[in-house]
């Protein structure tokens, strides 16, 4: 699976997310209602896709194709096959290709057993707010079916203190599962617990910087969520001029004073959510910060619990923090003149 490079100021994105149809599966915090529509898929034009493939080959960019509920027509599959790529597919297409990133929803939890055993699979589990209390149960059900599990919460914009508390409790339960797997010699990863252990600096999503999203009509967006919700595109792609984009400068970490002071290095720092909830891409919402810090705290306790186990004994311990929302630092400490806090 392709990984974004965090905090890296890039003028050119390193990889492209290509939505093969309007109903491409949502794989992060966002929703794509077209995925659930009964209408026929509106596929990307094969010529446009061919232009993207040529462009990626020439410029050395990696490609990640995002599929919807249906398998693409043969013409599109032929173009896809011309280049090495990664695929993100919904649960319904998990057994069509090998080595794909599979997206499962918390509503599908009764069907998790349909995923065969695979200790190397990359899995994305999207959890609806109302299913928060079943997080650890779902992870337990998925044991043996993933090598890396990415947990993405849905409906973060509606989270309150109670939701964060439930999530924090579930994270501790998931940590018990992870610890057990490590003791059994299974080197699994989960983004919300194990990523932070390995990081010494920010490693965020970096949508619009390290990667951009190309919609089926050739328009470019910061991320798929911007496409689904109908935000303005940041440019377009066409075979003649290639990628013509102008992402806003506020997307970079260096423009985000709160995040610069934070050590929840694994946080996605979702600029889409930030823009929706605070009106600014570089100002995260309270919900995002509280969730990231609940994960950081659970990671800290997991590392503590792993104690002398190899290789975790060599990792630097995470300090215990006396705050959960970095914004509270603004009032509690002397103002930092560099960032105006």
């Amino acid at each position: 699976m392709l990984e974004p490079v965090a905090g890296c100021k890039m003028t050119e994105p390193a990889y492209l997310l290509v939505l093969l149809e309007q109903g491409a599966v949502a794989f992060c915090h966002d929703e794509n209602p077209w995925f659930h529509a009964c209408s026929e898929p509106r596929w990307i034009e094969p010529d446009l896709l061919s232009g993207i493939v040529d462009f990626a080959e020439e410029s050395g960019k990696a490609l990640m194709f995002v599929l919807g509920r249906s398998r693409p027509p043969k013409r599109i599959e032929r173009v896809m096959g011309r280049i090495d790529h990664a695929k993100i597919v919904p649960f319904g297409l998990h057994d069509v290709w090998d080595n794909v990133v599979v997206v499962v929803e918390s509503e599908d939890r009764e069907r998790f057993a349909e995923l065969g055993e695979d200790w190397a699979r990359s899995l994305i589990l999207r959890i609806a707010r109302r299913d928060l209390a079943y997080c650890s149960d779902m992870v337990e059900r998925l044991v043996g079916r993933f090598g890396r599990l990415a947990l993405h919460l849905r409906g973060i914009e509606y989270f309150g203190a109670r939701d964060v508390a439930i999530y924090a409790r579930e994270l501790d339960r998931i940590a018990v599962v992870i610890r057990r797997l490590y003791e059994e010699g299974r080197p699994v990863e989960t983004n919300v617990l194990t990523d932070r252990l390995m990081l010494s600096s920010m490693r965020n999503c970096d949508a619009g910087i390290t990667h951009v999203t190309i919609a089926p009509d050739g328009r470019c967006y910061i991320c798929p969520a911007d496409f689904a919700i109908g935000h303005d595109p940041i440019g377009h792609f066409d075979a003649g001029s290639g990628l013509v984009i102008a992402p806003p400068a506020s997307l970079t970490l260096s423009r985000s004073p709160l995040c610069l002071r934070c050590d929840a290095f694994h946080c996605k720092r979702c600029v889409h959510l930030s823009r929706r909830l605070t009106g600014e891409a570089n100002v995260p919402s309270e919900q995002q910060c509280l969730i990231a810090h609940a994960e950081r705290e659970a990671s800290r306790r997991l590392l503590q619990a792993l104690g002398p186990m190899e290789p975790f004994d060599r990792l630097p311990r995470l300090p215990d923090l006396d705050y959960r929302d970095p914004l509270s630092l603004a009032g509690a400490r002397p103002p930092d003149r560099r960032f105006g806090l």
Binding site: E31, P33, A37, C38, R130, E157, Y158
Partner: protein
């Protein structure tokens, strides 16, 4: 009859209720607000039926106008979303929304728009 039915009836639509789509949480919030407003106005009229307040033409006109506007906005919401997402429809059917999951259901003839 459902708000916009341009497609042939799929054979699968034999069950009484079928999920035909989903809306964004923000879109759900819009229709929830309208639904609550309409329900509130309905309640208000019912609770004031024997009250002289409802006989006051100024008050009565205000409530009727507000109710009319709200019902119109609700209908517009369903029309706009059905067009945007291309939901299935059947003669005599109605769409409804599960406010919790944002899912849209096609009910065959008995349900009303709303939650």
């Amino acid at each position: 009859m459902a708000k916009s039915g341009k497609k042939a009836i799929p054979a699968a639509l034999k069950a009484d209720r079928q999920c035909v789509g989903r809306v964004l949480p923000g879109e759900r919030d819009e229709v929830l607000r309208l639904h609550e407003r309409r329900a509130g106005l309905d309640e208000l009229v019912l609770s004031l039926q024997d009250s002289p307040l409802l006989a006051n033409p100024v008050f009565y006109d205000k409530v009727v106008a507000d109710l009319g506007r709200t019902v119109k906005h609700l209908a517009d919401w369903w029309d706009a979303k059905a067009k945007k997402y291309g939901w299935d429809a059947v003669p005599g059917g109605q769409w409804s929304i599960d406010f919790d999951s944002c899912n849209i259901f096609l009910d065959h003839g008995t349900a009303r728009h709303g939650g």
